[in-house]
């Protein structure tokens, strides 16, 4: 039978995949994708705990995480478009012009 730990392990694996992406990628758009992966992994953990503890709070938090993700994407993509118009690339190394 599938228990809570199964879901938590899948969630942890997905979270680590997202973390690898955040640490490894140098392209801003790919960083956004990795962030989405991490947010989704946390949502799975919330839904699983909500199911196995018979409590709705986890689902509520998952809803608010989805709302935060939606607004993050809206603002972030606006910033990315402005950056791309200005620099012509989305690579983090090209954008590191504030190094002291």
């Amino acid at each position: 039978m599938i228990g809570l730990s199964h879901y938590l392990i899948v969630s942890a694996i997905l979270f680590s995949i997202g973390l690898v992406g955040v640490l490894r990628r140098r392209n801003l758009l790919m960083l956004f994708f990795a962030t989405e992966v991490m947010l989704n992994a946390v949502n799975i953990a919330f839904a699983a705990i909500s199911h196995y503890y018979n409590d709705l709070t986890g689902q509520m938090f998952a809803f608010f995480i989805i709302a935060v993700a939606a607004s993050e994407v809206a603002v972030g993509l606006g910033i990315l478009i402005v950056l791309y118009k200005k620099h012509g690339s989305l690579d983090l190394d090209d954008l590191a012009n504030m190094r002291g």
Binding site: L23, E36, D55, A70, A74, I81
Partner: protein, 187 residues
């Protein structure tokens, strides 16, 4: 029985698709596999009995966020492969070790909190959507309204950021209008 099969199928497919997302060099492949992985994650939610959350995941993530990404893709050169330099390895190892520590703490957390009590228990015989609605509009009304305000602010910010220098229309050629006007004037 079907729950076990569905769980292992969904988890294997999601892990594979998200690995493609993270490791792929092509933005288009990464985005497509991310969208497919999100559809499968909504399958997890349906398995867990969180029907409303699954529907919201399908509508908001797959419908709205991925559509937003694909619209933003028009501004970037999506067909070109991304060239990335490898980063400083010591930082990666340091951050990796720290995050492994955090992960261990996260897994140790439930062991120390065995006596969790359900704050808002689910009701038998009531659909998940009704249950969620009642809790969301009584106990979580203020966070709900704050989230609505945050989405409004994000919408305005997105419009202003992406819409900069778009006051001259991209679709109609204004100089062509001028030529027609001057031609009329000459007549």
């Amino acid at each position: 029985m079907y729950e076990i099969v569905a769980f292992y199928l969904f988890s294997a497919l999601t892990i594979g698709l998200f690995l493609i997302t993270v490791l792929s060099k092509n933005v288009l492949y990464a985005m497509t596999s991310l969208a497919a992985g999100m559809v499968l994650i909504s399958g997890f939610f349906f398995l867990l009995g969180a029907d409303f959350l699954g529907v919201v995941q399908l509508i908001v993530y797959v419908g709205a966020i991925m559509a937003l990404y694909s619209f933003a893709m028009m501004f970037f050169d999506a067909t070109r492969d991304i060239k990335e330099k490898n980063t400083n390895n010591t930082w990666v190892f340091l951050l990796g070790g720290l995050s492994a520590l955090v992960l261990v703490l996260m897994f140790a957390g439930p062991i120390y909190s065995e006596n969790i009590q359900a704050l808002y228990p689910m009701h038998e015989g009531v659909g998940n959507a009704q249950d969620v609605g009642i809790v969301l509009f009584t106990k979580y009304l203020v966070p709900f309204e704050v989230a609505a305000l945050m989405l409004l602010v994000a919408m305005i910010a997105g419009i202003i950021l992406a819409g900069k220098k778009m006051d001259d229309s991209l679709t109609e050629d204004l100089s062509a209008d001028d030529e027609i006007m001057t031609a009329k004037d000459e007549k």
